[in-house]
Every structure is written in structure tokens, then in C-alpha cells.
């Protein structure tokens, strides 16, 4: 293992401005929809107006004849199915057999302008045979009235079930027997969406048998693969370029129909074609937060130690697979890396419904169980007469241990994070006043998934460096989606070569020019691309130092040669480059990062392992009005174990953005359907927090210097969202003595809980029952030795 953090640092740890801040504040940055190529045509997609229907016919005759229309394509032109996961290749760019949600693409037009394309779409005649739609988890678990949403080979389970999983780690029944107290709760987390400010957009150009696609995607590599499959073009004839990115949050991680469609249209017309989704289409494209119903049962000793936990989830997946086969695992897998659960049973289920497909949104599959678990433990603490913070603390995982489901924990700053927010907020010393409350919660998240989306043993990130007398260029497939991954790469390379980030040129997210990186999702870029960049930069530093050492006549004594401030030994950087180029010829180095194999010895162990976990703790301070049910958030304190902050300005930006997004989910954001249709596919109807709704956020960075992250860094983009949502609901109980066991915690739910309290009923609003789900037989897994930190071959052969 390479040494990943040594010596005094000059650039890493500095709160420097982002390397791409200039173009972003001047309007010079080119986003996908800003691209205009000569002779470019515009594409519009005809989408289903029905939630569930067989397509009897699609007739584009009239549309084709319309002036200004160049080409109309339908499902037969793009019959090959695709999907982000190899196990869920269930989408077509244009569907011709049946539609499964309002918004499912059916046909596409390339025309001289958007208006003409739109008019042509309206002129396409589609004949449907409408089918009974399935709009809830309960409906999906019943036999369908007409037919299942997808044809399923496995008929042993209800036909609209997409995935079922069931595991037991350790002896759960024995654990419950040891408990002094056992409690069950049911929670519901409503779905919500990413709502990036930028609508998805893609531009394709096909020249000389080669396709180029610019897109607002989070992962150029996955788009590359999907285009190759659906267009039947070899990958070497496709180039995918990530345009400046206007916000993702997980919503631009799947390959999308419009990307395939514009590519096909460019190939057919021989002209560049652009498709920019309308805001309404963005709501249908979705892939956002799954609605999840959860049931949890936990046993604890009198002093609050967890003895066993049984957790069940049911995910409403919407119409297609997307990341869902992974999402269902994520609702169960990370409970064990925050709390030491000696015996754990997890049963998960994802169903298909006739709604826009759900997928990964910031925290992917974990905000829902985090909400449930934190509130559930809060209730247990109160039942046992314990302080919730203290009780949770008694169960915190310890650094450098292995969880019951084999996940390996390295650095862990939970204790310190908790101290920071509890002290700064005055959580324990506050003066009580009516309607005022505070809530506390913790969380953890992965620094990148330890397993690739499609099975392979190759590196997850690769970086190349080119150095010559004109400067330094970094090549990496990672996409900066605004989080600042380009800046992180520049920081790391600058640190190693004794430069400043602004001295480093970046070429990123371009499949022709950059080596593969698996993209910006799963909080993986700082950790994985960062480690690859560090390796490449250290190799380059060695070449430069060797050349300088030779010139200085110090032979192999490299160590005393200082690198920094634009100098390498007695030479400035440019002179050092001349020396090294003279000595070695072209100066290029490469670095790559492959995460260690961490998963336990059981099938399904690939979801959840990460080389390192971040930790967060939050306190939320609210005022709740018992007449209106309105909750006003006064302040949020959030401490985050970042490992090491490579650029603290960017880390705090990620924390503040996460807290804000969490408050939106906690209090107002929801993706609701009525009569098969999205209730409000617009930014006015889909409520999200404005400046006025967003409180002061005080952030604390806790640095635990992880042994495997670059300079000890871990993730920051997703973890800080997680504790905020349950902390809001805990604060409501603190303020008004009622539980809202549902997200979002809208005023009507608060009032209904208060109403029940007034009537002397259980002071709670939330789901009443968890459905009977035909979970399969449990896969029973022996827990590991909690001190066994082995990974890879060592672990596999053990």
C-alpha cells in the first residue's frame, strides 16, 4: 500500500477558489444546451400520456410530411434494451410494445427548430390499449388486474416484485432473547426528486462514421457503454464528452433515452442534433429518491445497548429497474457501520409501479433507513428513560473494526462529531420554551462503492499526467458536476509537484482523451480519482526530482531536494521539466485506483463495501407552531468526519448543500401521484426551499486522516444529508411531544399528530401497517471477527 499522507502540506488543506470558478461567474462556461453547431437540428420526444398501456400502433406519417421535419424515429429504430445495471436491461430509448409511466418515450423528431419538432410530435398518432395502472406498493404486491408491468420469467413471486433480498448476520432470535426491551416501529419516506437547476441536455454529431455526444451526464463511461449497445457501434467509434454540468445529485447517473435518441438522429440525418428536456420532462426522467416503507424491530438492554435488529423495507421503484437492484440493498446495508449491531436481519423488496423510475439520489437508498433507525432509537431511548444522545453513543461503532455484515470500518470520527454539535448547539443546556425543540442524529456514508456497477477487476479510476515545458495537464474521466472534483485533482497534483492548483490544466470526462473513471456518483471521486492522481503525481515528481538531482550532482540523494513554491531543488519548475524531458523524453505517468475487495463470503456482499466511511452528526433547532403545524428551522449544526479536507471551502460547500437538500426532503419535497399522473411536475408545484426557508448552517470539519484516502480524505457529498432529516423529526417531538413517522413532515401531518395527542390517542402520525411480503428464505451469514481487518485475497483465502 502506498503512503497516502505524509510530510507537511502546502496546497492540500487550503480553502482555495475552485479551478473553474472563473468561467462559471462570467457566463463563459459551456453547458450542454449552450452548444450550437453549424446545421444543428433540434429534437423533441413524444412521451406517453398514459401510465400503463399497450401500444397498438404509432403512426408518424403526418409528422414526417410536416415542413421543417427531417426525421421521425420510433421504437423499431432503436429496439435494443439498455439500463444502468447489467441485471436490469429493461428500458428502450423509444418504446413500441407498451408504456409503463406517464413520460415513457415513444417517438422522436429531428426538425429545424424546437417548435417544429414539438408540433410534429403532436402530429404522431399513437393508438393505445389502456391497462389498469399500479400506483402503490400495496397494489404492486397484489395480482395485477390486467397484466404485470414487466414480463417476468420468475412466476413464483407476485409479478410486480422487482427484487427480493433476505439476510441474517449472527443469531437474531438469540439477540432478541437477550434484550430487556424490544420495540417495533413503522416509517414511511415519500419519494422526491433531484431537481437540478439544469435540465438534461445532449448534442450529438456524426461525422465520418464517428459519433460524438456532449451531454450533461455524471458518468461519460456509462453513457459510452449504453450508446455502443443500443446503436450497435463499437466503442472506438463513439466519443462522449461531459459538458459543463448544471447539477446532478444522482439524477444524471443513468444513461438516458434522449442521449440514445439524439445519437441515432444524428446518424440518420448526418447533421448535429440537440435535445434539451423541458422541466416537465425532467420530472418524468426522475431516477430520484424511492418511496420506502420500513418496519424495524430492535432489542436493547436496560442501559440501551442494542442486542439485535430486524429491518424490513419495501421500495416503490417506479416503472423500470434503473439502480433499483442496488437501491434495495442500500436500504439495509449501512445500518451496521454506524451502530454496533451484534445480530442483524434485513429483508428488502423493490416493486414496479407505473410511476417515473426511481434511482439514486444523494445518499442512494440510505436516507430512508437512516430516518427510520435514528427515530426508532430515539424512541427506544425515551422508553428506557435514557438520554438519546447518550444511548446512541453507547452503540457507536469503533474505528478499525468489522461490522456484523462484514463491512470494514477504518477511521471513524463519530464521537468527535457528536461532541462538536452537541456542545456548539447547547443541546443539553438549552432553556425550554413552548414550541421550541432540538433533535440530534448521526450517519455514515461510503467513499465510493467498493464494487463496480458491471463486474470487472479493472481499476475504478485512472489518471494520466503529461508534463512538459509548457506545464502540467491532468487527464481523468471523472466529471465535475459542481462538487469540485476538478479542483480536488488539481489540488493533489499541485501538492505533489510543488505548484498551485491554478497552474494545473485539466482534461476531464472525455472518452477520447481521458482514461476511464467510473464517474461522479457514490461519493467516489475524491477518494478514487484522488488516489489515482496521487499515484500519477508521485511518479512524475520522482522523474523531475531525479533529473534535478543529477544536475545538482547529488546522485541518488533525492530526499534533501525540496519541492514547493514552483521550485524543484535549485531549479524552477520549467527548468526542472527541461532537465527531465531531456533525460527521459516525453514525460507521462499514470496512476490508478482499485478498491480492495472487502465484501464478506456471501452472495450479495458487493453492495455496501467501501474503502472508507465518512461520519456525520447533526443537531437541528426548530420552532413548531401548534396552531398551524408549521415548522421553522432556526439553525443546523453539522459536524462531518471528512478524513482530511483537501479543500475545506469545497467540503463546507458540500455540507451546506447537503443540509439544505435534507431540509427540503424533511419538510416539503415530495413526488406525489394522482390518477396515474405526477401531481405537480413543475418547480412551482414541487416545493423546494428558497433562501427564506434555509437557516444558518454551522459546519465543523473533523479530520480523522483515513489510512486509505488520498492524504487521508473521505467523502463529503452525501453523508452530511443523512442525519438532518431524522434530527428534524426528533426536534418536533422535543418541541410538541408528537411523532411524525413520515417524510416529508408537512404541517397537515403535524396537526393530525397533535389532534391525536389531544384526543388522548397515540401522539403519532405515520403508517399503520407493513404489508405481508413474500421475502425469500434468509441467507444466513456467520459474522466476522470484529477485529479482522483483512481485505482482498487475504480475506478471500481465509
Amino acid at each position: 500500500m502506498t503512503e497516502r499522507g505524509s510530510g507537511p502540506l502546502h496546497v492540500v488543506g487550503q480553502p482555495l477558489q475552485k479551478v473553474d470558478a472563473g468561467p462559471k461567474v462570467t457566463g463563459a462556461a459551456v453547458y450542454a444546451d449552450d452548444i450550437a453547431l453549424p446545421r444543428m437540428l433540434f429534437c423533441k420526444i413524444l412521451r406517453s400520456a398514459l401510465p400503463h398501456a399497450r401500444i397498438l400502433s404509432v403512426d408518424p406519417t403526418v409528422a414526417r410530411r410536416m415542413p421543417g421535419v427531417h426525421t421521425v424515429i420510433t421504437g423499431q429504430d432503436l429496439p435494443i434494451r439498455f439500463g444502468i445495471l447489467p441485471v436490469s436491461q429493461d428500458e428502450r430509448a423509444l418504446e413500441y410494445e407498451k408504456v409503463r409511466y406517464v413520460g415513457d418515450p415513444i417517438a422522436a423528431v429531428a426538425a429545424v427548430d424546437e417548435e417544429t419538432a414539438e408540433a410534429a410530435c403532436q402530429a404522431i398518432r399513437v393508438e393505445y390499449e389502456e391497462l389498469k395502472s399500479i400506483m402503490s406498493i400495496d397494489e404492486a404486491l397484489r395480482e395485477p388486474v390486467d397484466e404485470p408491468i414487466h414480463e417476468r420469467a420468475n412466476t413464483r413471486q407476485p409479478v410486480n416484485i422487482h427484487r427480493l433480498v433476505a439476510y441474517e448476520f449472527g443469531d437474531v432470535d438469540a439477540g432478541f432473547e437477550k434484550a430487556d426491551y424490544v420495540r417495533e416501529d413503522i416509517f414511511f419516506f415519500q419519494g422526491n426528486t433531484h431537481l437540478p437547476m439544469e435540465q438534461h441536455s445532449a448534442v450529438a454529431n456524426y461525422v465520418d462514421g464517428k459519433l460524438t455526444l456532449w451531454s450533461s451526464t455524471q458518468v461519460v463511461h456509462y453513457v459510452h457503454r449504453a450508446l455502443s449497445k443500443t446503436l450497435e457501434l463499437p466503442m472506438n467509434r463513439i466519443r462522449v464528452i461531459g459538458a459543463t454540468h448544471g447539477g446532478g445529485f444522482g439524477g444524471k447517473t443513468d444513461p438516458f433515452a434522449h442521449e440514445v435518441v439524439v445519437s441515432k438522429l444524428a446518424m440518420l440525418t448526418g447533421r448535429p442534433v440537440k435535445c434539451t428536456l423541458t422541466r416537465e420532462e425532467v420530472f418524468y426522467t426522475h431516477r430520484g429518491r424511492h418511496p420506502v416503507l420500513m418496519w424495524v424491530r430492535t432489542g436493547a438492554t436496560r442501559d440501551g445497548r442494542i442486542t439485535a435488529m430486524h429491518f424490513k423495507s419495501a421500495l416503490d421503484g417506479g416503472a423500470y429497474g434503473s439502480y433499483g437492484a442496488a437501491s434495495v440493498f442500500y436500504t439495509g446495508t449501512l445500518q451496521t457501520v454506524t451502530y454496533d449491531i451484534p445480530a442483524y436481519r434485513f429483508e428488502g423488496c423493490r416493486v414496479f409501479t407505473n410511476k417515473a423510475p426511481c434511482g439514486p439520489k444523494r445518499g442512494h437508498g440510505t436516507p430512508q433507513p437512516r430516518f427510520a433507525i435514528e427515530l426508532h432509537l430515539e424512541k427506544i431511548a425515551r422508553d428506557l428513560g435514557l438520554d438519546p444522545v447518550e444511548m446512541k453513543r453507547r452503540n457507536f461503532v469503533k474505528p478499525f473494526t468489522r461490522a456484523v455484515n462484514w463491512l470494514r470500518i477504518t477511521s471513524c470520527g463519530l464521537e468527535e462529531c457528536t461532541d462538536k454539535v452537541v456542545e456548539a448547539s447547547g443541546y443539553r443546556t438549552r432553556r425550554r420554551r413552548p414550541g421550541h425543540g432540538m433533535g440530534f442524529a448521526i450517519s455514515s456514508y461510503m467513499s465510493g462503492a467498493g464494487t463496480a456497477i458491471y463486474w470487472n477487476d479493472m481499476p475504478h479510476s485512472e489518471v494520466q499526467l503529461k508534463v512538459d515545458r509548457t506545464g502540467v495537464t491532468v487527464y481523468c474521466g471523472a466529471m465535475d458536476i459542481g462538487q469540485g472534483s476538478d479542483s480536488v485533482l488539481a489540488h493533489i497534483v499541485a501538492e505533489e509537484l510543488g505548484l498551485q492548483p491554478r497552474d494545473v490544466r485539466l482534461v476531464t470526462a472525455d472518452t477520447d482523451l481521458t482514461p476511464i473513471d467510473l464517474g461522479s456518483y457514490s461519493s467516489r471521486v475524491t477518494f478514487m480519482a484522488g488516489n489515482a492522481a496521487l499515484e500519477a503525481a508521485r511518479k512524475m515528481r520522482l522523474l523531475l526530482v531525479q533529473a534535478v538531482a543529477e544536475k545538482m550532482g547529488v546522485g541518488d540523494q533525492f530526499e534533501p531536494i525540496p519541492v514547493g513554491g514552483g521550485q524543484i531543488g535549485d531549479f524552477d519548475f520549467e527548468q526542472a521539466c527541461v532537465l527531465a524531458e531531456t533525460k527521459y523524453g516525453t514525460l507521462t505517468t499514470g496512476g490508478s485506483y482499485t478498491p480492495p475487495r472487502i465484501g464478506g463470503p456471501y452472495k450479495g456482499s458487493g453492495v455496501g463495501p467501501s474503502p472508507a466511511y465518512s461520519y456525520s452528526a447533526a443537531v437541528v433547532d426548530i420552532d413548531a407552531d401548534d396552531r398551524t403545524g408549521i415548522v421553522t428551522v432556526n439553525k443546523v449544526w453539522l459536524a462531518h468526519d471528512i478524513g482530511r479536507a483537501i479543500n475545506p471551502l469545497l467540503v463546507i460547500g458540500q455540507i451546506e448543500g447537503s443540509v439544505y437538500m435534507a431540509l427540503g426532503e424533511a419538510l416539503m419535497e415530495e413526488q406525489e401521484y394522482r390518477k396515474g399522473r405526477h401531481k405537480g411536475p413543475s418547480m412551482l408545484e414541487y416545493k423546494s426551499p428558497t433562501f427564506q426557508d434555509t437557516p444558518e448552517i454551522e459546519s465543523f470539519l473533523v479530520e480523522t486522516i483515513d489510512p486509505e484516502g488520498p492524504y487521508g480524505a473521505k467523502e463529503a457529498g452525501q453523508g452530511p444529508l443523512l442525519p438532518v432529516i431524522p434530527a428534524v423529526n426528533a426536534a418536533l417531538f422535543d418541541a410538541l411531544g408528537v411523532w411524525v413517522d413520515e417524510v416529508p413532515m408537512t404541517p397537515d401531518k403535524v396537526l393530525r399528530a397533535l389532534d391525536r395527542k389531544t384526543k388522548g390517542e397515540s401522539p403519532r402520525y405515520g403508517p399503520q401497517k407493513f404489508p405481508a411480503i413474500p421475502y425469500p428464505e434468509l441467507i444466513r451469514v456467520e459474522p466476522p471477527d470484529p477485529h479482522d481487518m483483512r481485505v482482498g485475497a487475504e480475506l478471500a483465502n481465509a
Partner: protein
């Protein structure tokens, strides 16, 4: 010529954008947002909804923030329009652009042009706004990345930076 066979009513409009007088021949129903982006190449102005809901396409008309997706060129005779490109003097950044960059107020940067213009209008009328005044003035502009904190900080920092 586009759409020669469809009857689209076009007119010549005299616009005054970022200090330049420009004539455009466009369909009468084309919005200012579309004219800026498609006819004048001013793609710094972004769009998030094209329904007047998100604030992303904010420009200044006679110094006041307006949603360019809801404005038609016919409304603009003899009125000065400023876009994000017009904030920069040559290659010299506006103080707001400077503080936005330095303090991390732009993450993905997509809402940034609209934010900058709404903030510039605020500072024109109130050189030293309070935190609450900033939050109120910018409340019509949505941002999904920053949690707004750094934007408030950046607007508040301009006064300190220039004095």
C-alpha cells in the same frame, strides 16, 4: 431562412443589450431568453423552467431584475438589458463575480448568472444589505447546490471588498 413554409410572424426589434444596440429579426412570440441565447449568442443566461418559476434566467432591464423567459422583445424598445456577460468590464470581473468565485458561491454554476444579476440590482439600491435583505431580494432565485449560505456571504462580502 428557417421554417419558410410555416407562417410565422417575424418582426425587427431594436434591442439595447450590454451597452450595444442590436437589431434582430425574430418571431414575435420568441422570448427575450431565447433571443439572447439563440440569436445573440449570449448563452451566459440560463434557463431552468421557462415558466417564470426558478429565477435562473434573470437579467436586468433598466437595472431591475426580470425573468427573461417571461419577457417579449416587443416590450423592450429603448430599454437597457444587462446579462451576465455585461457585468464584466472587459476582462475585469464585477466585485460580485469576484466574491462569488472566491467564497465558493458557485458550485455547478448554473444558477449563478441569474443570482449575480439579482444581487447586482440589490447592491445598486442598497450598498450594504443585511443578511435578511439579501435573502429576501434573492428569494426568487433557486439554487440546489449551495444551500444558499455561500451566496449570502458572497453578496455581503462585496461591500467589505470594495471599501
Amino acid at each position: 431562412m428557417r421554417n419558410i413554409e410555416r407562417e410565422v410572424q417575424r418582426e425587427v426589434f431594436a434591442l439595447h443589450v450590454n451597452g450595444e444596440r442590436i437589431q434582430v429579426l425574430v418571431p414575435v412570440h420568441k422570448t427575450l431568453l431565447e433571443v439572447l441565447r439563440e440569436d445573440l449568442g449570449l448563452t451566459g443566461t440560463k434557463h431552468g423552467c421557462e415558466l417564470g418559476e426558478c429565477g435562473t434566467c434573470t437579467v436586468l432591464i433598466e437595472g431591475l431584475p426580470q425573468l427573461s423567459c417571461l419577457v417579449l422583445p416587443i416590450q423592450l424598445e429603448n430599454r437597457r438589458v444587462t446579462t451576465v456577460e455585461g457585468l464584466t468590464q472587459g476582462s475585469h470581473l464585477h466585485p460580485l463575480q469576484q466574491t462569488f468565485a472566491e467564497l465558493g458561491a458557485a458550485q455547478c454554476g448554473y444558477c449563478t448568472p441569474g443570482m449575480l444579476l439579482a444581487a447586482a440590482a440589490l447592491l445598486e439600491s442598497n450598498r450594504q444589505p443585511t443578511r435578511d435583505q439579501i435573502r429576501e431580494a434573492l428569494a426568487g432565485n433557486l439554487c440546489r447546490c449551495t444551500g444558499y449560505s455561500k451566496i449570502v456571504e458572497a453578496v455581503g462580502a462585496v461591500h467589505r471588498a470594495v471599501t
